[in-house]
């Protein structure tokens, strides 16, 4: 088993699905869906195998593969995983699989939809496992661009505007990354793009690090929904179809945070130390700001979109503490938020598919009409509030512990943000899920058993890591050294 290039297999799993989707005729919708679901299942199983095979005691990067790609200028197809990548790979596999299942009822242009979606997933896998800056960026762009057609074709509510805005925002991020990433290569002597090598201490002078770090942080930060460059994100969420929202918030935004962690902080620690207070401040503002703005939204998805801004603020705050606890918490939060938001969008998507309405004010007492479907939403909401028993509680706890230590005032502000988080989430629950019934929606039907599967998986994951956080933290800790 260990001889198999398991990382390459998991990477090319969605690509195979992509090719198969392209080759299948449009009319065989079920076959297309099955192929993608199967690919999702396989990658889920593979990511679990990777999890189990990863030797936490040894730590570091494992299952490495290294093939010269453009060897003249040192580009290698270098892949490998450490504890953080393992976690995020699993996240991506979960969201991929559940995302495909959530879109089972799709009828419009099925073939193209799944083609773009599998391409996106391919890119995300690539980012999480690549160890070469060029390869990383290659996959990064592969992951970002399919969002445009996915939102513009299958979306709703100003979809073309939103898709364009999202894409341009992310490309501005890439524009910052280009000089930042290449400068790493050139400054290090133009020999290698390998992240592991570049992360070695003393590669870069302090002045250089301080100069380049903001380019990388902001470049990745835009994708991570960093305040004040977040406004593409909620708009994109609102316009995107269910599974795309799931992938977007669940995985894509994590790419940004992962990039910050792996490249910006990993390669430029001195730069990170210099800029940490500034960016921690932005992150804290994001936490509180997102919560407040969410309080005034009337669209389900806008609420969740701004909650993402707020929750990603927690991730970024954790990263900026630059310590073991903060990093542990941030990565855990990346995972927890990914699953939680996927669940959120999955639940909202189910309601929207039937009602074609997402205005909170038009609903009421949904729990009486579709108790099972709404219970998914309630679960996600509880997780969003950081209720113990759900994964995000531990993540937030760790981040707050670190933040209070490193940036006490910001830590207090961030913790106080919990109150407003509860306020906006309860507002939605109170208005739409509970309260007097709106007879208009009496006809709604519960999800079929098949459609509940993905949601149940997501809930199970949240609860599992909520009850047994040590499983997750042992894995992350193998990198951060906090075991």
């Amino acid at each position: 088993m260990s001889d198999l290039p398991i990382l390459s297999i998991i990477l090319f799993c969605p690509l195979v699905a992509f090719v198969a989707t392209i080759l299948l005729p449009e009319s065989k919708a079920t076959a297309i869906k099955s192929v993608n679901a199967f690919a999702g299942l396989v990658s889920l199983i593979l990511s679990l195998i990777i999890w189990s095979q990863y030797d936490k005691a040894a730590g570091g990067f494992q299952m490495m593969e290294d093939i010269p790609w453009v060897s003249e200028i040192g580009i290698h197809y270098a892949i490998g995983v450490d504890g953080i990548s393992v976690v995020l790979t699993l996240l991506n596999a979960i969201v991929f699989f559940t995302g495909v299942l959530s879109m089972w009822t799709l009828e419009k242009r099925v073939k193209e939809y799944f083609a773009f979606m599998s391409l996106l997933v391919f890119g995300v896998f690539g980012v999480f496992i690549s160890l070469d800056i060029f390869v990383f960026f290659f996959f990064y762009e592969v992951a970002v661009l399919p969002m445009y057609p996915l939102i513009a074709i299958w979306g709703s509510t100003r979809k073309e505007y939103s898709a364009m805005k999202l894409t341009l925002f992310l490309m501005v991020g890439s524009a910052l990354l280009f000089p930042g990433l290449i400068a790493l290569y050139v400054e290090s002597g133009g020999e290698t793009w390998n992240l592991v090598t570049l992360s070695a201490q003393g590669t870069f002078s302090k002045g250089f690090q301080i100069f380049i770090y903001p380019l990388l942080y902001v470049g990745f930060g835009i994708l991570a929904g960093m305040w004040p460059f977040h406004s593409w994100s909620p708009i994109g969420h609102v316009a995107a179809p269910t599974a795309v929202s799931m992938l977007h918030a669940g995985v894509l935004m994590k790419l940004g945070a992962y990039g910050i962690l792996r490249i910006a902080i990993g390669v430029l620690p001195l730069g990170a130390a210099f800029w940490a207070p500034t960016f921690a401040f932005a992150a804290t503002v994001g936490i509180v700001y997102g919560a407040f703005v969410a309080m005034r939204q009337t669209d389900f998805k806008y609420v969740i979109g701004f909650s993402s801004v707020s929750h990603m603020g927690i991730v970024l705050l954790g990263l900026n503490t630059l310590g073991v606890d903060g990093t542990n918490g941030a990565v855990f939060q990346m995972f927890a938020h990914g699953v939680m938001t996927a669940l959120f969008f999955s639940a909202v998507g189910f309601i929207y598919d039937q009602t074609h309405d997402r205005d909170i004010r038009n609903f009421g007492g949904l729990v009486g009409q579709i108790p099972v479907a709404t219970s998914f939403f309630i679960m996600a909401a509880l997780c969003g509030m950081g209720v113990p028993g759900f994964a995000s509680f531990w993540a937030e706890l760790l981040v707050f512990i670190a933040a209070l230590k490193v940036f006490p005032l910001m830590g207090i502000a961030a913790i106080a943000g919990l109150i407003f988080t509860a306020a906006y989430i309860l507002r939605v629950l109170g208005k739409a899920i509970f309260g007097p019934k709106n007879p208009k929606w009496d006809h709604l039907v519960e999800p079929t058993a098949f459609l509940t599967i993905p949601r149940i998986i997501l809930i199970a994951v949240l609860l599992f890591f909520g009850f047994v956080p040590s499983v997750m933290l042992d894995m992350i800790g193998s990198v951060t050294g906090g075991r």
Binding site: W69, F134, F137, I153, M164, A175, F178
Partner: protein
């Protein structure tokens, strides 16, 4: 090695030129002329590929150099020629009596381009420059809707003649400064202000070929007014030749490159900005590609202004990968054009449904131009930017990358038109001829292959560059 076989790619083109001239002269049908021409083009590509490792000087010493650099670019030119001829199968926009005759001009012009990339002496270079241009001038005039065709050609030739006259004046100054016309000798002569002035003026004609600011204005007009196959030839082969030419010309500066570099930085930034910003509003697809060509000239200059091996290699890589991408775009244009009308962006509506293959081709083209993987556009930009940063111009990369973001807007508008809008009622499915289908597959396969695995092309490009630096 010093033998005629060094000249074999050029011979192949000469043969093609003669054959197609013969076809035109004896009045064969357009289809026969096309088939002959296609066959000759395939031979030309084959010969160029075989001739890749050649090195030597077939004529007088130092006038005409066959080296890795020239051979790689010749392969690029012959590939572009082949694609252009394949696209010429339909000739929807070419005026009917000229249809059998376009091939002759293709070959003539490509011959000039091949000589251009091998020329290492200024007179040879100038002759080749003119030779490559004449064919294009005529091709531009052959649009079926003659008013726009002749206007495009008139603008092209008069602007071109003026630019080449400025170039010649510059060459005369170079000659005055160094008393020689051999590039190698000029480069080693030690710089003088007069030499720099001469090179700057010479750039007029060279940048004209590349369609870079400030001699770019012909590009959109001519792209729009020329027949489709002429536009694609103009957009691909001409660009490849221009890169070769520019590298030769710049190499004359020797160690005195600083002023030129500053000039080129300004030219590069203005080219991409003007190109991208102007493209934002275009409604005619070909015109949009014309502006996009201006922008890409700006990107290419990024590599050239580095005066380094990495930069040259990056520029060559970029232009080589640029060929099939542009071919993809024009393939769509030529395939959906009806009655010689240029397709507008809006007329792409519903392309995904009318022809899924063309939709995919268009997607690949637009992603390629925008630099989105899995097309080689990303790797190309990455290499270019690496060269620039190696040169120490971080901010220039930032400007270029932001420009790329701007360009994404209009490329996505094209994608949006093709993928989002439903087809017009009266427009049915588009049937592709086998040639077009094969061309489409080959082009996509090339693009995606180079996107996923840029190493072979990079090896070619970097070998080529090492012949210069």
């Amino acid at each position: 090695m010093n033998s005629p076989e060094l000249f074999c790619p050029e011979f192949a083109l000469l043969l093609g030129a003669l054959l197609s001239f013969a076809c035109a002269a004896i009045g064969t049908s357009a289809r026969t002329a096309w088939m002959v021409s296609l066959a000759a083009a395939i031979i030309a590509v084959g010969t160029s590929a075989l001739a890749l490792p050649y090195e030597g000087q077939p004529f007088f010493a130092d006038i005409y150099t066959v080296d890795a650099f020239s051979q790689v670019l010749k392969l690029g030119i012959s590939m572009a020629l082949l694609f252009a001829i394949a696209i010429a199968q339909r000739q929807d926009s070419t005026c009917s009596q000229a249809r059998p005759e376009v091939h002759f001009f293709f070959y003539l012009s490509s011959l000039g381009m091949m000589m251009l990339v091998s020329a290492t002496e200024l007179l040879t270079l100038y002759v080749a420059l003119e030779l490559s241009a004449y064919g294009l001038y005529i091709l531009a005039a052959l649009h079926r809707r003659e008013r726009i065709g002749s206007e495009a050609a008139a603008k092209y030739i008069l602007f071109g003649a003026a630019a080449s006259a400025i170039s010649l004046y510059g060459i005369s100054l170079i000659y005055g400064a160094t008393q020689t016309t051999y590039i190698a000798q000029i480069a080693s002569s030690g710089g003088s202000p007069l030499l720099i002035a001469g090179i700057v003026l010479t750039l007029a004609g060279v940048l004209y070929k590349l369609a870079a600011f400030p001699v770019h204005a012909w590009a959109p007009d001519t792209y729009q007014g020329a027949p489709h196959e002429a536009s694609v030839f103009l957009g691909t082969a001409s660009k490849v030749a221009a890169v070769g030419l520019l590298l030769r010309v710049l190499s004359m500066a020797g160690s005195e490159a600083e002023f030129l570099r500053t000039t080129l930085i300004v030219v590069s930034v203005l080219s991409m900005s003007v190109g991208n910003l102007s493209a934002l509003f275009q409604k005619d697809f070909k015109r949009l590609l014309g502006f996009s060509a201006v922008a890409h000239a700006g990107y290419l200059l990024l590599g050239l202004l580095c005066f380094s091996k990495l930069g040259a290699a990056a520029a060559i890589f970029y232009v080589l990968t640029y060929v099939p991408i542009v071919v993809c775009a024009f393939l769509v244009i030529s395939a959906i054009s009806t009655n010689g009308c240029n397709p507008s962006i809006a007329s792409l509506a519903g392309l995904y449904k009318r022809s899924p293959l063309l939709g995919l081709v268009l997607l690949v083209a637009m992603f390629g131009l925008a630099g989105i993987p899995p097309t080689p556009g990303l790797a190309g930009k990455w290499f270019l930017f690496s060269a620039v940063i190696e040169n120490g111009h971080l901010w220039l990369v930032l400007v270029a990358a932001i420009n790329a973001t701007i360009s994404l807007y209009y490329y996505l508008m094209v994608v949006k038109a093709a993928y989002l809008a439903p087809p017009e009622d009266d427009e049915g499915e588009i049937r592709l001829s086998p040639t077009y289908a094969i061309t489409a597959f080959v082009a996509i396969a090339l693009v995606v292959f180079m996107g996923f695995y840029p190493a072979p092309i990079w090896t070619l490009a970097s070998t080529a560059a090492s012949a210069l630096f």
